[in-house]
Symmetry: C2
Subunit: 598 residues, 2 copies
């Protein structure tokens, strides 16, 4: 049994649930029939298990160091990324014209997920490079693309996103880094960039930074921000490195987890001129960034899921083999101990993890499918875009909350062992804690969902989503035994509707969003409940088919159990939370800051 | 503003809520009037802030090492503990006859809490020494007490609890360490002890281990276990060290947090004879351990609270001073940024922490007061013992769950900074994660509450507790404005009653306890809801008094806000969870272990 992927479940989601093999009907993805997809997943799994997983503890313990203004880090990190690059995974989803393999985003997400489950902080370098290259591919000039894109798609040069500054984290409109026209089509950049993952490293010859900065005459706030490509090293027209671009590494942040990913404070233009080139139009930098944000936020949510999945698989393996205690009712203290999976509370902790990670993994892949639809299905594009917009705050936040909780349960199953660094659980838990913070905090996702995505169109997209859920309920009702699950999801939809009516009817925007984080969590439960009912309906169908074999029967029964666990023990909490939101009461909003002392 | 204690709140709980100054009316505590208590709290605060807090990051980063069979650890750890010992805190609650200061357990808990908030892993050595010394004082022979107790009470020798073994963690009945009579009143011990906090260290000349072991003819299971005092070093009658007792340090565990506390695998009787002396009667070792377990479990819960409190105070301080973003409705991007405490969602995260940590701190001190009643109030003893038994699983578990959650929110308020080791939040979060595991896991506490404490007497003690809560509700109803809080707590009591009726009516013990962990969490909410309504009633009374000054008014308004936050946003979740338990449904219980793959 792999400790980083359940291929049976991945196949179920990709092919039985989402029909990803039908993507090959689209011209762009013609090479990706089910066999080709399977081969790519096999390659990813082999690299993840043989290259990424074995070094995970080592690169966590031996974290990157700041020595004489440069990064020192274990060679294993770079070696793993080079193997990943050589297998083509940096360029998997890019256009063939750009040197890519033009695979569906769905396949890219599934394949990279295995490496993420094995070793999130090492894969971050690839994740960031792909995100930066996507930005360049979408908005860069042909000249810039010709000069930088091939090396990024091949994984020879890595990329970063330089958004935050010491005084501007969540509030990006307040960045101060300045870009001054040099008169030759380039700009001189000056300022400090904070929290830059992969901002410097000892792996690649060059780093391609995507930097947000202001022109001297730019208006204040987010509309005055432009986007610049700023390389670590200057190059000639042939792409050969000619010298430093004067980006000084001022220090590394020392994090609780994800330690193998450097996290840097960079000073631009301090030790000499730092030259960059504008991408796209002035003043549209944040808009471009947000264009790529859906994919980035799916990526963060997916990383949370993968940490949760690795913890689930590891703790299930432990529970099957660790003897401790005796069955309920056994009074003979000399009777042999049983594997702890025989205790109902241990299975409860396993089911809770399974419900969170398998549910959220399916949501991530569903959202990756929407990205593919947006790109390759003109008829579906508008609806897919709107639905993805609605689901993005959920896919970013729900796994960060509930797959972190899954990691907590995984530690708990191992007891004291789970708390030690001899097992991967505590590392997964530390790694996972970041996901509520970067790419937009939990609180910001809640404001985005309630303020922009729901109130922004008067609930129209939400209404279409609810209709999809109702359709799933209607289909599930045809199957014996799913009635209670359908009822509970319908209850949650009703509670959602009541809350939304109350919230949309509230003219005070601050009060409307005061409980936005609570609303986001509850709405995420509806989304995951919908995923589970969808999976349970498919499982029920397969169980009703006499041709389904014994091994598959266990798999589908596991789906029914996780669905039931989720609808029984989780959805009622969402109902309670919707009622809180709908009450429009917020003791926090009504509290004077002075009540907290100081 | 202190970052480890809110003395105004501590005074409120001790004196306005619990009337701890009235303990001085009891002969044992005659020296402890309010002034004396205040002086001891001042001393503890000074040591915690000046000695324990400044070294917390250092002793976390420089964790103890296993070198040539011995422990190497930073000198700062021992220095802090010596200062603590010199101030008398090891012996604070012990009899004067034993060299102690005979203070109430309530005061001991409050005073040590400050050092725990500053630096849990360093204080663990003192916590374990006091627990071992308590065991010795309660059950040891006069000879053993004369030989070992003074050095422990003075903090010159530390103590440990040696319960677990590699094959026996939660299942203590399965321990195998053997004790063979040497014919001179002593025993030779042979076996391995695992997870021994403070099991070896580089601080004190000697260590006094309290070891569970079996006599050769002992019956299997927990009734065959005896308790032995086993020193690290042998001593003569005068207490002078004469040589090694052959307890080999086989290795240190490397933990996610609480790193400054060594955690050891010890081999007894492997390199030579390890000699110990039985404490009390054969076969009663576990019974003695459990006699001290209430205090130990309050201590673990209290440590979880203190980590939560330190995180709350730190994040509140940060929120008051960190500028980021603008007030809701401010459209001018050039307007100055405001401190993040001005954002409702940040205040929500502060209120959530305040509700958890101040509520749970009051519960810990209430339970410490029950310990004092058991010891010094014969008329109240039986009821106090029963109530403490009911509340112990809650005081052990609820803070481990919800004050860990508080630490999660504290990190979130600091954003990326909270995730770095430059701030204490991530360390508090790592430290706190242990508290659900040691001194009985979350799952075991649930079984204890539902199986032994509630079903064990047919719900009788629970009924008395519910009557206390109803009395608090009745008193609170006299105050304007607390009606909604009273209603919600009454709703939760109703849901509790329904669940208990269903659970007690279920003849299948395994089904009855399948959701015991969920029940424990919900019951904990009722207990904390009761604490909050009690505090809100007192606060309301003070606010209705025109003589109450402005600073105090803010304090009491903070109490009302936290109470409202808890009853509004948390108690409905308990109602939902009670309904789940009362349904007697458990998809986990009904799941075949094979559904989890493998």
């Amino acid at each position: 049994m792999s400790l980083i992927v359940d291929r049976r479940d991945l196949d179920f989601v990709l092919f039985e649930m989402l029909g990803a093999d039908r993507l090959a009907d689209r011209a762009r993805f013609a090479a990706y029939d089910r066999t080709a997809m399977g081969q790519i997943l096999d390659t990813a799994q082999a690299l993840a298990e043989d290259v990424f997983l074995p070094i995970a503890a080592q690169v966590d313990a031996d974290e990157p160091k700041f020595v004489n203004g440069q990064v020192e880090q274990p060679a294993a990190t770079g070696a793993a990324l080079r193997a990943w690059a050589e297998a083509g995974f940096f360029g998997l989803a890019f256009d063939e014209a750009a040197g890519g393999l033009q695979a569906p985003w769905t396949l890219y997400t599934a394949a990279t997920g295995m490496a993420v489950a094995a070793n999130t902080p090492v894969t971050n370098y690839a994740f960031l490079t792909v995100a930066a290259a996507n930005l360049l591919a979408a908005f860069g000039s042909d000249t810039l693309k010709a000069q930088y894109l091939p090396a990024m798609v091949e994984g020879r040069w890595f990329g970063t996103m330089c958004l935050s500054e010491p005084q501007a984290g969540s509030s990006l409109g307040d960045i101060r880094t300045m870009a001054t026209d040099r008169g030759d089509g380039s700009h001189a950049l000056k300022g400090s960039k904070m929290w830059i993952s992969g901002g410097d490293q000892a792996i690649t010859d060059n780093i391609v930074h995507m930097v947000l900065a202001r022109l001297p005459d730019a208006q204040p706030g987010s509309k005055g921000i432009s986007l610049f490509l700023v390389p670590k090293m200057r190059t000639d027209a042939a792409g050969q490195i000619t010298g430093s671009n004067n980006i000084a590494l001022a220090g590394l942040n020392h994090k609780m987890g994800q330690r193998a990913t450097t996290n840097c404070l960079l000073n631009l233009g301090e030790t000499g001129e730092t030259i960059g080139w504008m991408i796209g139009q002035p003043g549209r930098g944040l808009e471009y960034m947000f264009h790529m944000m859906n994919e980035a936020r799916i990526g963060v949510g997916h990383a949370a899921v993968m940490a949760g999945l690795a913890g689930y698989l590891h703790s299930a393996d432990y529970a099957r083999t660790r003897p401790q205690g005796r069955p309920a009712g056994e009074r003979n203290p000399a009777a042999p101990q049983v594997p702890i999976i025989r205790h109902a509370d241990v299975r409860r902790m396993l089911l809770a993890q399974k419900a969170a990670v398998e549910g959220a993994q399916a949501l991530c892949l569903f959202c990756a499918g929407l990205v593919d639809d947006i790109e390759t299905d003109p008829a579906a594009r508008a609806d897919a875009q709107a639905l993805l917009g609605l689901l993005t705050p959920v896919v970013k936040s729900w796994p960060a909350e509930h797959c972190l909780e899954a990691n907590k349960w995984a530690i708990q199953i191992l007891g004291g062992y789970g708390y030690t660094r001899d097992y991967p659980l505590e590392r997964l838990y530390r790694d996972n804690r970041l996901n509520h913070i970067h790419e937009g905090t939990f609180g910001i996702q809640g404001m985005d969902l309630l303020g922009r995505k729901i109130a922004g169109d008067g609930g129209a997209v939400l209404g279409r989503f609810v209709a999809m859920v109702q359709d799933t309920i209607a289909q599930a009702r045809r199957h014996a035994g799913l009635g209670p699950d359908c009822d509970r999801l319908a209850d949650a939809l009703l509670a959602l509707d009541r809350a939304v009516q109350a919230l949309l009817g509230c003219a005070d925007a601050e009060r409307r969003t005061a409980n936005a984080t609570i609303f986001l969590d509850a709405f995420g439960h509806v989304v995951i409940g919908w995923i589970w009912l969808w999976q349970a309906r498919l499982a029920r169908g397969q169980l009703d088919n006499p041709a389904t074999g014994e091994v598959d029967r266990l798999f589908y029964q596991g789906k029914l159990a996780a669905c039931r666990h989720f609808t029984l023990t989780e959805l009622p909490l969402a109902v309670a939370r919707f009622a809180i939101c709908g009450s429009l009461q917020s003791p926090a909003l009504d509290s004077d800051p002075a009540l907290f002392g100081g």
